[in-house]
Amino acid sequence: MNELGDLYQEVILDHYKKPRNFGTLEGATGAAQGDNPLCGDRLALQVKLSGDRIDDLRFRGSGCAISTASASLMTEAVKGKTKAEAMGIFERFHPMVTGRGGGNDLGKLEVFSGVSEFPVRVKCATLAWHTLRAALEGRTDPVSTE
């Protein structure tokens, strides 16, 4: 039960039920699609860059609580950041959700630390981030968690 409580924290359920930055972005400068073949989930992400800075971003798609909340919280975390800063966050987020430590400076994103107890769910938590990286790198082929 404790582990379940760690996974489905209040913040995660809130962002799952009411995802932020959800929908279509006017004037997007980049986009990418992420697939999780394990569950068939798809995530479409649009970004609007000005220079090196992420001015705005939105996502669409249907996913589980973890992937939806992760996408939602990610959009909040990286909005206004430079590309390098955003990827720097992912570099600290990834070891946290895979149980390799760190993550104590990630603010709200720390709610995903419980994911490390559920190895099969790591891909749900990282799908949005992989998709963001593809969008920032201007890749057009869909990224996959497999």
């Binding site: 394990l38 569950c39 989930d41 798809r42 249907s62 609580a65």
Partner: protein
């Protein structure tokens, strides 16, 4: 798959369960409730023992050695072929080809039987509820041979309306490949009738029996199937071994699928003579332990009784359907009138992946996802479902445990 009409299941499930060591285990501190039998079934002690005994007492290669061990292993291996032939009511053990599983069996038939038949514009007919392994091999052939892939639709219940299927049969139809039982919905297809219709149209037929063989008596001759494929691991047997049944007259006409050892009579650089059927299709050293351990799985099913198993699972399906239908916000996908004990469902407001994780914490193992049947998911407008699938060792109490665990999902998600 038509059931006989016993009124009460006559299985001593408690006693049967003792034969499956894994069923006594605990998951996250809870007794394991294993409801993922459509993915793979658990193995009775006799199957595990047979594999162990092979390695301890018989291990050697088959069909080649003159020494005692090889003779023993060869006999044990070939005895299972005879047993499988009897189990499916094949006319001849040579009609039983050992493969890795259903997927390989379908690919073998696609390559060696269907490919040589195809002219550009010829048609292959499947249904909307097929597993990816009965879709993709045909797409590969279609693209290679310029053939056309036709798909018989399903209705809201998950049934394939017979008239629609029949209407898609044409003089161009060369081959029909259909599931006996849908892995995602549980629908039992009227394969006998469909085969008759296909034959009238001049097409031969493969039946994907992966979800059927362990749940009711299958008689390939009564069905009239040209080919019938299944996997050992869904029949309480080992992984890595499956069966392709093919009518002898077809198998004799087919070129080999893979080249290698054991499938030839003689090899020179100029010319190679194929071995006889079925060895022609069994290149290389097979999963000998797997085939040998498949024997006791069949013995186990026959001793238990296929009719008794079917009746027991029908009872479980009825009970589980009733209980699940009473869960608020739960929608069942697949309500065919003829159905195997497979229940695909979703809980409103909760993704099946999350349902699966929470159920697992309660010790309840189910499958979540698209079940390698994405066209089925699309038909119902969902990306994924949760699926509980029952086997001969499951009980009504386990169906109740599933429902109780779903209560936990509602608690966690406050739905």
């Amino acid at each position: 798959m038509k059931a006989t009409t016993e009124s009460r299941p006559s299985l001593d499930v408690g006693k049967l369960r003792e034969e499956f060591p894994i069923l006594a285990s605990r998951v996250h501190g809870k007794p394991l409730v294993y409801l993922d039998n459509a993915a793979t079934t658990q193995k009775p002690r006799a199957v595990i023992e047979a594999a162990r005994r092979y390695y301890e007492e018989q291990n050697s290669n088959i069909h080649r050695g003159v020494h005692a061990l090889s003779e023993r292993a060869t006999k044990a291996f070939e005895d299972v072929r005879v047993k499988v032939a009897r189990f499916m009511n094949a006319a001849d053990p040579r009609e039983v080809v050992f493969v890795r599983g259903t997927t390989e069996a379908i690919n073998l038939v696609a390559r060696s039987w269907v490919r040589p038949l195809l002219e550009p514009g010829d048609e292959i007919l499947i249904t909307h509820l097929e597993h990816h392994s009965n879709i993709v091999p045909w797409q590969l052939l279609r693209d290679e041979a310029g053939a056309v892939l036709r798909v018989a639709p399903i209705d809201d219940r998950g049934e394939v309306p017979f008239e629609e299927f029949e209407r898609l049969l044409s003089p161009r139809t060369r081959f029909v490949s259909i599931a006996h039982v849908s892995n995602a919905l549980g629908t039992v297809l009227p394969v006998r009738r469909m085969i008759e219709a296909a034959h009238r149209a001049g097409a031969t037929v493969l039946v994907d029996g992966a979800q059927a063989v362990a749940h009711a008596k299958v008689d390939v001759r009564a069905l009239g199937a040209d080919f019938y494929a299944w996997s050992g691991h869904k029949l309480y047997g080992p992984t890595g071994v499956g069966v392709l049944y093919g009518k002898l007259e077809h198998l004799e006409r087919m070129p080999p699928y893979q080249g290698g050892g054991d499938m030839i009579l003689s090899v020179t650089f100029e010319k190679t003579t194929w071995n006889r059927v079925p060895h022609k299709f069994e290149a290389g050293t097979p999963d000998i332990a797997g085939v040998i351990a498949l024997g006791p799985a069949i013995d186990f099913l026959e001793a238990t009784g296929m009719d008794a198993i079917a009746a027991h699972e029908r009872d479980l399906l009825r009970h589980a359907t009733e209980r699940l239908s009473a869960v608020p916000g739960l929608r069942i996908f697949g309500t065919a009138r003829e159905k195997a004990a497979v229940l695909s469902f979703n809980l409103e407001g909760v993704h099946p992946h999350d349902v699966g994780t929470i159920l697992d914490q309660e010790g309840v193992a189910i499958r979540t996802g698209h079940h390698c049947a994405q066209p089925v998911m699309e038909r119902y407008g969902v990306a994924a479902t949760a699926r509980a699938s029952f086997g001969l060792y499951n009980t009504r109490e386990e169906a109740d445990a599933l429902v109780a665990a779903l209560g936990r999902v509602a608690e966690v998600f406050r739905t």
